[in-house]
Amino acid sequence: MSKIIVVTSGKGGVGKTTTSASIATGLALRGHKTVVIDFDVGLRNLDLIMNCERRVVYDFVNVINGEAALSQALIKDKHSDKLFILPASQTRDKDALTQEGVEKVLNELSKTFDYIVCDSPAGIEHGALMALYFADEAVVVTNPEVSSVRDSDRILGIIHSKSKRAAMGLEPIKEHLLLTRYSPERVKRGEMLSVQDVEEILSIPLLGVIPESQSVLTASNQGVPVIHDEISDAGQAYLDAVARLLGESKEHRFLDLPKKGFFKRMFGGTA
C-alpha cells in the first residue's frame, strides 16, 4: 500500500514545487519507489525543476481523460531509477481534474509505487482541493512571515474538513510543518518570525527548517533538485526532512546564526 503525501501551502511562491521535487528525490534516494505528480494544471513547473520538460509527451490530464496510458505519461528521472514524474498539462485548466479521474490515477499508481507525492497548486480552490483530497500525509510549506502563516493555517483547516479522510471519518491526515527560506540573521533582527512563533501559531509538528540559500535558486534554474546538492545547507536540511518523514529522529539544524569559528565549521556544515 502506497502512501500519498501532498505538498501544499495556500500561498504561492513559498517553495511547494522545490519541496515536492526534493522530497520525492530524497525518498527515491532512500530506495523507495516514488512518483511525483504536478497538480498545477495550466502552470506547469515541476518538469522544469526536475529538468524533464523536453521529455513531456503525455500528461496527467491525458491520463485522466483516457487519452494516454499511465506508462506513457510517466517520465523516469535522470538521476534515480526509482523516481518518476507525472507532469501537469500546460494547455488545460484545473477543472480538468475530476475527483473520479484523480482517484483512478492514484489507485493505479499505488499498485506500483511506495510513495506518491502530490505537488499542489497555490490557493484553496479546486486544484488544491484535488491535490490534498486523497492524501495520507501533508507537508505544509510555510515562509516565516505572517501572510504565509495565515494561509497555511487556512489550508490546514481545509485539510481537516474537506479531505477524503475527513469526509469518511477516518484517521485525520498527518500534518507536517516545513519552514522554508528561513534566515536566523533576520529572525535575530526581528524582521522575520522565528520557528517558535510559527510552531505556536500553527501547532503542528515541525518536519524541517530549510535555510534561505543561494543554492535553491541555482538548483531550480539548473533543473537539479536542491537535495542533490549535499554540500549546501538547504540540501542537507531537505535530507534531514526526508529522514524525519521516514520516521527517523534528527535534531533540527540551521536554526541559529552560524558562529564564525573553527568548531562551527566542523559541526555546522555551513560550507
Binding site: 484553496i124 495565515r150 493555517d153 487556512r154 483547516g157 481537516h160 505556536e200 501559531i201 501547532s203
Partner: protein, 264 residues
C-alpha cells in the same frame, strides 16, 4: 439661516439595518380544517402567555399535497388569527405554494438552509420559554403542570466541545448552548455561541458569545489575543484589547452596554 443649518446637521430620520430575529415557525405537514385549529388550541393551552399576539411563520417545506392539496392560505391565516397569533409570512420553495402566498398577500421567506427543517413546535415552545424568560416568568409555572403527560426531563444543554485547532476561515456555532474549545483558535477563525465561549488555549480569532441576545453570556480564554470579542452584539476589536489583559487569561462580561475584562 438657523433652521437651514440645523436641517443640515440633523441626522436622517431612518436607517436600514440587517437584523436576525428569532421567530417561531409553524410547520404544516398536511391540512385538516378541524384538526388544525384543535391542535393549535391544544398547544396554546400549554403556555398561553407565550402565544398571545405571537408572530409566526408558516413552513410548507414538508407539506404533503398528495393527500390534501394546499388550501387557500387565507383560511389558515384566519385559523391562526382565531388562535390569537399573527401569521407574518410563509416559508416555502415550491412555485405553487409561493403563488398561493402571493394570492393571500403573505411575504415568502426562503426555506431553511442545509435542509435543516425547523424543529417541532414543542422544541420551539421551549426555546421561546428560554428567550422570553423575564416577561413570561409567572405564567411559565403553569406550563409543566399542564404538560404532565410528557415525562419530566431536564432539557439537554446543547453545548459543543471542540478538541481540534480552529483554523483561519473556519466558523463554529454552538446553537442553543456554550462553545468549549480545547485547542488554539487562529486569527481569521470565528466562534459563535448562543451561550458562553470557553477557550482553553490562545484565542486569536473572533469570539461572539450570546449571539441571540443573551446579555449574561461570557467569554473565557487562556490567552487573550483576539481580533474581536462580542457579547450580545456589544464588541471590542483587538486595538481596544491590547492592554494589561493582552496574552493573559481573561474573562469578558457585559455590564450594561460595556464589555469589561477581568483576570482569571
Amino acid at each position: 439661516m438657523a433652521p437651514a443649518t440645523s436641517e443640515l446637521v440633523r441626522p436622517p430620520c431612518l436607517k436600514f439595518k440587517g437584523n436576525l430575529v428569532a421567530i417561531t415557525t409553524l410547520e404544516l405537514l398536511y391540512y385538516d380544517p378541524t384538526g388544525l385549529s384543535e391542535a393549535l388550541e391544544e398547544k396554546i393551552a400549554q403556555a398561553p402567555a407565550l402565544f398571545t399576539n405571537h408572530p409566526i411563520i408558516l413552513s410548507l417545506e414538508k407539506y404533503d399535497d398528495a393527500e390534501v392539496p394546499l388550501p387557500d392560505l387565507r383560511m389558515i391565516q384566519s385559523v391562526v388569527r382565531n388562535a390569537g397569533m399573527i401569521l407574518v409570512g410563509i416559508r416555502a420553495d415550491a412555485p405553487e405554494q409561493i403563488s398561493e402566498a402571493q394570492k393571500a398577500g403573505l411575504p415568502v421567506f426562503p426555506p431553511a438552509k442545509n435542509g435543516r427543517s425547523p424543529e417541532t413546535t414543542e422544541a420551539n415552545a421551549e426555546d421561546m420559554g428560554r428567550s422570553t424568560e423575564t416577561s413570561s416568568a409567572p405564567k411559565q409555572e403553569e406550563a409543566p403542570a399542564t404538560r404532565s403527560a410528557a415525562p419530566a426531563e431536564l432539557p439537554t444543554p446543547q453545548n459543543l466541545v471542540i478538541t481540534q485547532p480552529v483554523r483561519s476561515g473556519q466558523q463554529i456555532y454552538a446553537r442553543g448552548g456554550d462553545l468549549i474549545v480545547l485547542a488554539p483558535v487562529s486569527a481569521g477563525a470565528e466562534l459563535l455561541a448562543d451561550g458562553n465561549i470557553h477557550v482553553y488555549a490562545p484565542l486569536r480569532g473572533r469570539a461572539l458569545a450570546g449571539v441571540r441576545g443573551l446579555e449574561s453570556a461570557r467569554i473565557f480564554c487562556q490567552s487573550l489575543e483576539a481580533e474581536l470579542v462580542s457579547i450580545a452584539g456589544q464588541y471590542k476589536i483587538s486595538e481596544d484589547l491590547t492592554g494589561p489583559h493582552w496574552k493573559r487569561p481573561t474573562q469578558i462580561t457585559l455590564n450594561g452596554e460595556k464589555l469589561s475584562l477581568t483576570d482569571i
